[in-house]
Homo-oligomer: 247 residues x 2
């Protein structure tokens, strides 16, 4: 089969600097994100009318998945079965029955909120919210979210289910509290963004599940914004320890 | 920007042999369609678990749009503004505010019903319904439709609205009736499939709209299945004339 060449149109900028800690679905964490365009696509006309839509689909390249961008022979690297985190990380399903990044043609899609469109000297900037995409991700396409065709109300979702309704209690250690108070001058609502990221327990399911290895003393780090968020888990709560400098 | 090479994983087979007459959104016409895989992807394991989902997203290449598949310099051919048929065909909007096929990176996405998965000697075949995609379209990816992240109930759809609730009355001429009765031995429900295709009036909006050029005597043809469906419009109804041989 002849391959199809795609050119990224722009870049997504988000608070998520590494894969660990990214929400497992869009819309969970109301953190700011934005997208700018490469010069060839940075044209006001190309987004005209988009301001009428509350949500957009972003089609993007899973550029940090196992399959490298621009790799010619995608057949060499994809695996027919994957272990989705939602199934506890130890049950395998077919890659096409999952939304895993490790797939032939590593394209991801997310429905995110479009909060505003800013027009700058360098072209339009889309301000977004509810993004579950890594910082620096190449964007391939933007499409308006069309409720009349994208909402399938009678769809059955098989074994995958939404975010657990049971959320963890989040506690801030005094050091973290002080640091957050200071940072909130630049990053409004930082405490609530951190709470939203942690309350669905970002640990892989094989660690957090009932049969999992709990590792109660382990300190986890998540790189968001310009710091490394350090936290640990006790029986029934997650303790935010500090905002460390990134290594 | 470095380009990203994608390889189609399979082919979509549908009743729509040309662009004219394809429903303007998925789910409107309950006609059969199926997808098979290229040998490298034709593996039972790759779709294992997909049978639990009622709907899937198909990501596909708009291979008959203005931008040719595999074309290196996509920047040369895309237009920043398009005229969506829903807006009457004479109002322009930005290409990223539309779902037009004529876009940088010609990827389309549709949520369609997965009716069954058949396992054959040549690999899995997905049987689908509600498809709005041209016959022979290269498929790039299959993803399960996940209600908890793909349904955005509070999304505002700007100026685009769903299929008109006013449908045309469809009348079958006696010649068409006879031909359909005969064909229905091979194609079950053919009369109701034809009705569903025509009742939303597939003519471009500039012809059908109130200010449009009505052309009451014009005979239209739509190539579906293996025939050319001939029909015309009167004041308040569409008359199915005959099932002609394709030229």
């Amino acid at each position: 089969m002849e391959s199809i060449a795609l050119t990224p149109i722009g870049t997504l900028h988000s608070i998520y600097k590494e894969k660990f800690g990214i929400p497992r679905q869009p819309g969970l964490v109301d953190a700011p994100a934005w997208m700018d365009f490469y010069p060839a696509y940075a044209r006001e006309e190309a987004v005209r009318g988009l301001e009428h839509f509350s949500h957009v689909w972003l089609l993007f390249n899973f550029h940090q998945s196992n399959i490298a961008p621009g790799q010619k022979d995608t057949q060499a690297k994809w695996l027919p079965m994957v272990r989705p985190p939602r199934l506890g990380g130890n049950k395998k399903v077919g890659v096409f029955a999952s939304r895993s990044p490790c797939r032939p043609n590593g394209i991801g899609m997310s429905a995110v909120r479009l909060t505003s469109i800013e027009h700058t000297d360098k072209g339009p900037v889309l301000h977004l919210s509810g993004v579950d995409i890594l910082d620096g991700t190449p964007i391939l396409d933007i499409k308006p979210y069309l409720p009349y065709s994208d909402i399938v109300l009678n769809a059955d979702d098989g074994f995958a289910h939404g975010a657990s309704s049971e959320t963890c209690r989040i506690v801030f250690a005094s050091k973290a509290k002080r640091q957050i108070r200071k940072k909130e001058r630049q990053i409004p609502r930082l405490a609530s963004i951190i709470t939203a990221i942690l309350e669905n327990d970002p640990r892989p399911a094989y660690r957090s599940g009932p049969s999992g290895k709990a590792e109660p003393d382990r300190v986890f780090g998540i790189r968001i914004f310009d710091f490394d968020l350090k936290w640990m888990v006790t029986d029934d709560q997650i303790i935010v320890l500090e905002l460390a400098v990134c290594a």
